[in-house]
Protein backbone atom coordinates (compact mmCIF):
# COMPACT_ATOMS: atom_id res chain seq x y z
CA UNK A 1 0.00 0.00 0.00
CA UNK A 2 1.18 3.47 -0.82
CA UNK A 3 1.44 6.02 1.94
CA UNK A 4 1.16 9.80 1.73
CA UNK A 5 4.27 11.67 0.66
CA UNK A 6 6.70 11.59 -2.25
CA UNK A 7 6.00 9.19 -5.07
CA UNK A 8 6.43 8.84 -8.82
CA UNK A 9 3.76 9.04 -11.44
CA UNK A 10 4.36 7.03 -14.58
CA UNK A 11 2.52 7.72 -17.83
CA UNK A 12 2.82 5.41 -20.80
CA UNK A 13 1.61 6.65 -24.18
CA UNK A 14 0.48 4.06 -26.69
CA UNK A 15 -1.60 3.67 -29.77
CA UNK A 16 -4.84 1.82 -29.21
CA UNK A 17 -4.16 -0.65 -32.00
CA UNK A 18 -0.67 -1.64 -30.90
CA UNK A 19 -0.23 -5.31 -30.09
CA UNK A 20 2.15 -7.28 -27.97
CA UNK A 21 2.28 -10.97 -28.90
CA UNK A 22 -1.19 -10.85 -30.34
CA UNK A 23 -2.95 -9.07 -27.48
CA UNK A 24 -3.45 -5.31 -27.08
CA UNK A 25 -0.36 -3.73 -25.58
CA UNK A 26 -2.33 -1.86 -22.95
CA UNK A 27 -3.80 -5.07 -21.58
CA UNK A 28 -0.35 -6.71 -21.44
CA UNK A 29 0.94 -3.72 -19.51
CA UNK A 30 -2.08 -3.64 -17.24
CA UNK A 31 -1.68 -7.35 -16.48
CA UNK A 32 2.00 -6.83 -15.80
CA UNK A 33 1.30 -3.99 -13.36
CA UNK A 34 -1.49 -5.94 -11.70
CA UNK A 35 0.53 -9.10 -11.12
CA UNK A 36 3.58 -7.15 -10.01
CA UNK A 37 1.54 -5.64 -7.20
CA UNK A 38 1.23 -2.04 -8.33
CA UNK A 39 -1.26 -0.18 -6.12
CA UNK A 40 -3.44 0.96 -8.98
CA UNK A 41 -3.38 1.88 -12.65
CA UNK A 42 -5.75 3.54 -15.09
CA UNK A 43 -6.02 3.33 -18.85
CA UNK A 44 -7.27 6.53 -20.45
CA UNK A 45 -8.48 6.77 -23.99
CA UNK A 46 -7.71 9.88 -25.97
CA UNK A 47 -10.20 11.20 -28.48
CA UNK A 48 -7.59 12.68 -30.77
CA UNK A 49 -3.85 13.20 -30.89
CA UNK A 50 -0.63 12.73 -32.77
CA UNK A 51 2.66 11.10 -31.96
CA UNK A 52 6.17 10.52 -33.23
CA UNK A 53 4.99 9.83 -36.75
CA UNK A 54 3.11 13.15 -36.87
CA UNK A 55 -0.08 11.58 -38.09
CA UNK A 56 -3.23 13.10 -36.74
CA UNK A 57 -5.44 10.39 -35.25
CA UNK A 58 -9.00 11.17 -34.39
CA UNK A 59 -12.28 9.40 -33.89
CA UNK A 60 -14.74 10.11 -36.59
CA UNK A 61 -18.34 9.10 -36.58
CA UNK A 62 -18.13 7.05 -39.72
CA UNK A 63 -15.02 5.04 -39.00
CA UNK A 64 -13.82 3.47 -35.83
CA UNK A 65 -10.16 4.25 -35.59
CA UNK A 66 -7.90 1.86 -33.77
CA UNK A 67 -5.04 4.33 -33.72
CA UNK A 68 -6.36 6.58 -31.02
CA UNK A 69 -3.93 7.50 -28.27
CA UNK A 70 -4.06 5.55 -25.04
CA UNK A 71 -2.41 6.56 -21.81
CA UNK A 72 -1.75 4.29 -18.87
CA UNK A 73 -1.10 6.00 -15.56
CA UNK A 74 0.00 4.70 -12.23
CA UNK A 75 1.57 6.09 -9.08
CA UNK A 76 4.11 4.11 -7.09
CA UNK A 77 7.11 4.46 -4.84
CA UNK A 78 10.49 5.21 -6.39
CA UNK A 79 11.82 1.70 -5.67
CA UNK A 80 8.83 0.00 -7.22
CA UNK A 81 9.01 2.16 -10.34
CA UNK A 82 12.70 1.49 -10.89
CA UNK A 83 12.00 -2.23 -10.49
CA UNK A 84 9.31 -2.13 -13.19
CA UNK A 85 10.74 0.30 -15.73
CA UNK A 86 12.94 -2.11 -17.65
CA UNK A 87 10.11 -4.48 -18.50
CA UNK A 88 7.73 -1.59 -19.16
CA UNK A 89 10.09 -0.17 -21.77
CA UNK A 90 10.08 -3.52 -23.49
CA UNK A 91 6.29 -3.84 -23.31
CA UNK A 92 5.64 -0.28 -24.51
CA UNK A 93 7.49 -0.95 -27.77
CA UNK A 94 7.46 2.25 -29.78
CA UNK A 95 5.39 4.07 -27.17
CA UNK A 96 6.62 6.80 -24.85
CA UNK A 97 7.07 6.56 -21.08
CA UNK A 98 7.15 9.57 -18.82
CA UNK A 99 8.02 9.60 -15.12
CA UNK A 100 7.31 12.57 -12.93
CA UNK A 101 7.72 13.42 -9.29
CA UNK A 102 4.48 13.75 -7.46
CA UNK A 103 3.23 14.11 -3.95
CA UNK A 104 0.58 11.85 -2.68
CA UNK A 105 -1.79 13.86 -0.52
CA UNK A 106 -4.07 11.03 0.43
CA UNK A 107 -3.53 7.39 -0.43
CA UNK A 108 -6.51 5.38 -1.62
CA UNK A 109 -8.21 3.08 0.82
CA UNK A 110 -9.49 -0.37 0.02
CA UNK A 111 -13.22 0.19 -0.21
CA UNK A 112 -14.30 -3.01 1.48
CA UNK A 113 -11.99 -3.91 4.34
CA UNK A 114 -11.52 -7.63 4.68
CA UNK A 115 -13.22 -9.12 7.71
CA UNK A 116 -10.28 -11.22 8.71
CA UNK A 117 -6.82 -11.37 7.24
CA UNK A 118 -6.39 -14.80 5.71
CA UNK A 119 -3.65 -16.87 7.28
CA UNK A 120 -0.47 -16.65 5.31
CA UNK A 121 -0.17 -19.58 2.98
CA UNK A 122 2.64 -21.98 3.51
CA UNK A 123 5.07 -23.01 0.85
CA UNK A 124 6.45 -26.54 1.02
CA UNK A 125 9.13 -27.88 -1.21
CA UNK A 126 10.59 -31.31 -1.57
CA UNK A 127 10.99 -34.48 -3.53
CA UNK A 128 7.97 -36.57 -4.34
CA UNK A 129 6.70 -39.09 -6.85
CA UNK A 130 4.20 -38.64 -9.58
CA UNK A 131 2.06 -41.65 -10.38
CA UNK A 132 0.20 -41.66 -13.67
CA UNK A 133 -2.30 -44.40 -14.43
CA UNK A 134 -3.35 -44.94 -18.04
CA UNK A 135 -6.63 -46.74 -18.59
CA UNK A 136 -9.58 -46.63 -20.96
CA UNK A 137 -12.64 -44.51 -20.47
CA UNK A 138 -14.91 -47.51 -20.84
CA UNK A 139 -13.07 -49.62 -18.25
CA UNK A 140 -15.25 -50.43 -15.30
CA UNK A 141 -14.70 -51.64 -11.80
CA UNK A 142 -17.72 -53.30 -10.25
CA UNK A 143 -20.61 -51.00 -11.10
CA UNK A 144 -18.78 -47.77 -11.88
CA UNK A 145 -16.22 -46.30 -14.25
CA UNK A 146 -12.74 -47.42 -13.28
CA UNK A 147 -11.32 -43.89 -13.16
CA UNK A 148 -14.09 -42.95 -10.78
CA UNK A 149 -13.40 -45.94 -8.55
CA UNK A 150 -9.67 -45.18 -8.55
CA UNK A 151 -10.23 -41.59 -7.50
CA UNK A 152 -12.48 -42.71 -4.67
CA UNK A 153 -10.00 -45.34 -3.61
CA UNK A 154 -7.17 -42.83 -3.59
CA UNK A 155 -9.22 -40.43 -1.59
CA UNK A 156 -10.01 -43.13 0.93
CA UNK A 157 -6.30 -43.89 1.17
CA UNK A 158 -5.30 -40.29 1.81
CA UNK A 159 -3.44 -39.78 -1.43
CA UNK A 160 -2.79 -36.04 -1.52
CA UNK A 161 -4.62 -35.41 -4.76
CA UNK A 162 -5.47 -36.82 -8.13
CA UNK A 163 -6.68 -35.40 -11.43
CA UNK A 164 -8.30 -37.28 -14.28
CA UNK A 165 -7.45 -36.30 -17.86
CA UNK A 166 -9.15 -37.46 -21.03
CA UNK A 167 -7.04 -37.84 -24.14
CA UNK A 168 -8.48 -36.62 -27.40
CA UNK A 169 -6.65 -39.13 -29.55
CA UNK A 170 -4.46 -42.10 -28.98
CA UNK A 171 -3.70 -45.76 -28.99
CA UNK A 172 -1.86 -48.02 -26.63
CA UNK A 173 -2.43 -50.61 -23.95
CA UNK A 174 -5.87 -51.39 -25.29
CA UNK A 175 -5.39 -53.78 -28.15
CA UNK A 176 -8.88 -53.10 -29.47
CA UNK A 177 -8.09 -49.42 -30.01
CA UNK A 178 -4.78 -50.35 -31.47
CA UNK A 179 -6.42 -52.58 -34.03
CA UNK A 180 -9.46 -50.85 -35.32
CA UNK A 181 -10.08 -47.44 -33.89
CA UNK A 182 -6.59 -46.11 -33.84
CA UNK A 183 -7.12 -42.79 -35.51
CA UNK A 184 -10.73 -42.13 -34.73
CA UNK A 185 -12.10 -40.20 -31.84
CA UNK A 186 -13.79 -43.06 -30.11
CA UNK A 187 -16.04 -43.23 -27.15
CA UNK A 188 -13.32 -45.15 -25.40
CA UNK A 189 -10.82 -42.37 -25.06
CA UNK A 190 -7.62 -42.79 -23.18
CA UNK A 191 -7.87 -41.70 -19.56
CA UNK A 192 -4.93 -40.63 -17.45
CA UNK A 193 -5.01 -40.18 -13.70
CA UNK A 194 -2.19 -38.17 -12.27
CA UNK A 195 -1.43 -38.25 -8.54
CA UNK A 196 1.43 -36.69 -6.62
CA UNK A 197 2.44 -37.84 -3.15
CA UNK A 198 5.32 -39.39 -1.26
CA UNK A 199 6.76 -42.56 -2.70
CA UNK A 200 5.69 -44.59 0.36
CA UNK A 201 2.07 -43.55 0.10
CA UNK A 202 1.86 -44.21 -3.61
CA UNK A 203 3.59 -47.58 -3.30
CA UNK A 204 1.29 -48.62 -0.49
CA UNK A 205 -1.61 -47.87 -2.80
CA UNK A 206 -0.26 -50.12 -5.53
CA UNK A 207 -1.82 -53.40 -4.30
CA UNK A 208 -5.20 -51.76 -4.80
CA UNK A 209 -4.25 -50.74 -8.32
CA UNK A 210 -3.23 -54.36 -8.92
CA UNK A 211 -6.71 -55.47 -7.94
CA UNK A 212 -8.63 -52.83 -9.81
CA UNK A 213 -6.76 -52.33 -13.08
CA UNK A 214 -7.03 -55.28 -15.41
CA UNK A 215 -5.33 -53.64 -18.30
CA UNK A 216 -3.34 -50.45 -18.31
CA UNK A 217 -0.13 -48.77 -17.44
CA UNK A 218 1.18 -47.26 -14.23
CA UNK A 219 4.07 -44.85 -14.60
CA UNK A 220 6.21 -43.44 -11.81
CA UNK A 221 8.47 -40.46 -12.13
CA UNK A 222 10.45 -38.28 -9.76
CA UNK A 223 9.14 -34.79 -9.27
CA UNK A 224 10.10 -31.75 -7.27
CA UNK A 225 7.08 -30.34 -5.60
CA UNK A 226 6.37 -26.82 -4.53
CA UNK A 227 3.14 -26.70 -2.67
CA UNK A 228 1.18 -23.74 -1.47
CA UNK A 229 -1.24 -24.42 1.30
CA UNK A 230 -3.29 -22.33 3.66
CA UNK A 231 -3.27 -25.12 6.15
CA UNK A 232 0.15 -25.65 7.53
CA UNK A 233 0.64 -29.06 9.03
CA UNK A 234 -0.46 -29.03 12.65
CA UNK A 235 -1.31 -25.33 12.83
CA UNK A 236 -4.80 -25.62 11.44
CA UNK A 237 -6.38 -23.13 13.81
CA UNK A 238 -8.31 -20.99 11.38
CA UNK A 239 -11.95 -21.53 10.61
CA UNK A 240 -12.72 -22.37 7.00
CA UNK A 241 -12.52 -19.30 4.79
CA UNK A 242 -15.30 -18.82 2.36
CA UNK A 243 -13.82 -20.10 -0.82
CA UNK A 244 -10.46 -18.47 -0.32
CA UNK A 245 -8.69 -21.57 0.93
CA UNK A 246 -8.81 -23.41 -2.34
CA UNK A 247 -5.46 -25.05 -2.99
Amino acid sequence: MLSAGKALKVSIYLSEGSKHHGVPTYSSILDFLFYRGVSGATVLKGIAGFGADHHMHSASIVEISDHLPLKIEFIESREKVSELLGKLEELAGTGMIEVQETTLAKPAQISKPKTATPPAHVKMEGKAKMMRIYIGEADRWKDKPLYNALVEAMRANDIAGVTVYRGILGYGAHRRMHKDKALHLSHDCSIMLSAVDTEDKLRSFLPLVDQMVEEGLVVFSDVDIIKYSYRALGVDQSEPQSGSAAV
Binding site: H21, G22, V23, Y134, Y165, R166, G167, I168, L169, G170, Y171, G172, A173, R175, A182, L183, S190, M192, L206, V209, D210, V213, E214, E215, G216, L217, V218, V219, F220, S221, D222
Partner: protein, 115 residues
Protein backbone atom coordinates in the same frame (compact mmCIF):
# COMPACT_ATOMS: atom_id res chain seq x y z
CA UNK B 1 -3.85 -60.98 -15.96
CA UNK B 2 -0.21 -60.21 -16.61
CA UNK B 3 1.84 -57.69 -14.72
CA UNK B 4 5.34 -56.61 -15.63
CA UNK B 5 7.56 -53.82 -14.43
CA UNK B 6 10.39 -52.00 -16.22
CA UNK B 7 12.22 -48.71 -16.74
CA UNK B 8 11.24 -46.52 -19.69
CA UNK B 9 11.27 -43.02 -21.13
CA UNK B 10 8.37 -40.63 -21.25
CA UNK B 11 8.24 -38.06 -23.99
CA UNK B 12 5.93 -35.10 -23.83
CA UNK B 13 5.59 -32.91 -26.88
CA UNK B 14 3.95 -29.53 -26.52
CA UNK B 15 2.66 -27.50 -29.44
CA UNK B 16 -0.49 -25.80 -30.73
CA UNK B 17 -3.64 -27.39 -32.03
CA UNK B 18 -3.39 -25.29 -35.19
CA UNK B 19 0.03 -26.68 -36.14
CA UNK B 20 0.07 -28.67 -39.35
CA UNK B 21 2.25 -31.24 -41.01
CA UNK B 22 1.71 -31.70 -44.72
CA UNK B 23 -1.76 -30.29 -44.47
CA UNK B 24 -2.81 -32.55 -41.64
CA UNK B 25 -3.07 -31.62 -37.94
CA UNK B 26 0.36 -32.15 -36.44
CA UNK B 27 -0.91 -34.23 -33.54
CA UNK B 28 -2.62 -36.67 -35.89
CA UNK B 29 0.50 -36.85 -38.02
CA UNK B 30 2.68 -37.63 -35.01
CA UNK B 31 0.30 -40.32 -33.74
CA UNK B 32 0.29 -41.87 -37.21
CA UNK B 33 4.09 -41.76 -37.29
CA UNK B 34 4.20 -43.42 -33.85
CA UNK B 35 2.02 -46.26 -35.11
CA UNK B 36 4.14 -46.64 -38.19
CA UNK B 37 7.27 -46.93 -36.06
CA UNK B 38 5.55 -49.39 -33.73
CA UNK B 39 5.72 -47.19 -30.66
CA UNK B 40 3.96 -48.73 -27.66
CA UNK B 41 1.37 -45.98 -27.48
CA UNK B 42 0.62 -42.31 -27.80
CA UNK B 43 -2.04 -40.08 -26.34
CA UNK B 44 -2.99 -36.54 -27.24
CA UNK B 45 -4.33 -34.12 -24.64
CA UNK B 46 -5.84 -30.74 -25.28
CA UNK B 47 -5.20 -28.02 -22.72
CA UNK B 48 -7.92 -25.57 -21.88
CA UNK B 49 -5.63 -22.59 -21.44
CA UNK B 50 -1.97 -21.77 -21.57
CA UNK B 51 0.84 -19.95 -23.22
CA UNK B 52 4.17 -20.99 -24.57
CA UNK B 53 7.19 -20.02 -26.60
CA UNK B 54 5.32 -17.38 -28.54
CA UNK B 55 3.87 -16.08 -25.26
CA UNK B 56 0.52 -15.92 -26.94
CA UNK B 57 -2.29 -16.94 -24.63
CA UNK B 58 -4.02 -20.02 -25.95
CA UNK B 59 -7.52 -20.15 -24.66
CA UNK B 60 -9.95 -22.75 -25.86
CA UNK B 61 -13.06 -20.71 -25.20
CA UNK B 62 -11.84 -17.53 -26.86
CA UNK B 63 -13.22 -17.60 -30.36
CA UNK B 64 -10.16 -16.14 -32.08
CA UNK B 65 -7.82 -18.78 -30.70
CA UNK B 66 -10.28 -21.63 -30.58
CA UNK B 67 -8.27 -23.57 -33.14
CA UNK B 68 -5.06 -23.01 -31.28
CA UNK B 69 -5.44 -24.65 -27.88
CA UNK B 70 -2.28 -26.10 -26.37
CA UNK B 71 -1.73 -29.73 -27.27
CA UNK B 72 0.33 -32.21 -25.29
CA UNK B 73 1.25 -35.54 -26.77
CA UNK B 74 2.58 -38.22 -24.44
CA UNK B 75 4.55 -41.25 -25.50
CA UNK B 76 6.01 -43.90 -23.22
CA UNK B 77 8.42 -46.42 -24.62
CA UNK B 78 11.93 -47.85 -24.36
CA UNK B 79 14.91 -45.59 -24.92
CA UNK B 80 15.68 -47.24 -28.28
CA UNK B 81 12.17 -46.67 -29.58
CA UNK B 82 12.19 -43.06 -28.40
CA UNK B 83 15.54 -42.52 -30.14
CA UNK B 84 14.00 -43.84 -33.33
CA UNK B 85 11.20 -41.33 -33.13
CA UNK B 86 13.24 -38.21 -32.33
CA UNK B 87 14.63 -37.57 -35.86
CA UNK B 88 11.08 -37.62 -37.22
CA UNK B 89 9.97 -35.17 -34.57
CA UNK B 90 12.90 -32.92 -35.48
CA UNK B 91 11.46 -32.70 -38.95
CA UNK B 92 7.82 -32.40 -38.00
CA UNK B 93 7.73 -30.07 -35.00
CA UNK B 94 8.56 -26.62 -36.25
CA UNK B 95 7.76 -24.80 -33.07
CA UNK B 96 7.27 -26.62 -29.85
CA UNK B 97 8.82 -28.21 -26.85
CA UNK B 98 9.81 -31.78 -26.14
CA UNK B 99 10.37 -32.91 -22.56
CA UNK B 100 11.83 -36.31 -21.78
CA UNK B 101 11.85 -38.02 -18.41
CA UNK B 102 12.91 -41.34 -16.97
CA UNK B 103 9.99 -43.31 -15.64
CA UNK B 104 9.26 -46.57 -13.95
CA UNK B 105 6.41 -48.45 -15.56
CA UNK B 106 4.05 -51.14 -14.35
CA UNK B 107 2.04 -52.68 -17.16
CA UNK B 108 -1.14 -54.66 -16.75
CA UNK B 109 -2.30 -56.68 -19.71
CA UNK B 110 -4.98 -59.25 -20.29
CA UNK B 111 -3.01 -61.42 -22.67
CA UNK B 112 0.63 -62.44 -22.21
CA UNK B 113 1.69 -61.65 -25.77
CA UNK B 114 4.32 -59.29 -27.14
CA UNK B 115 6.81 -57.57 -24.86
Amino acid sequence: MMKDQFQARMLRIHFGEGDKWQGKPLHEAIVAKCMELGMAGATVYRGIEGYGASTRIHHASHWTFSKDAPIMLTIIDSEEQIEKLIPHLDAMVEEGLIAMSHVEVIRYSRSPEKA
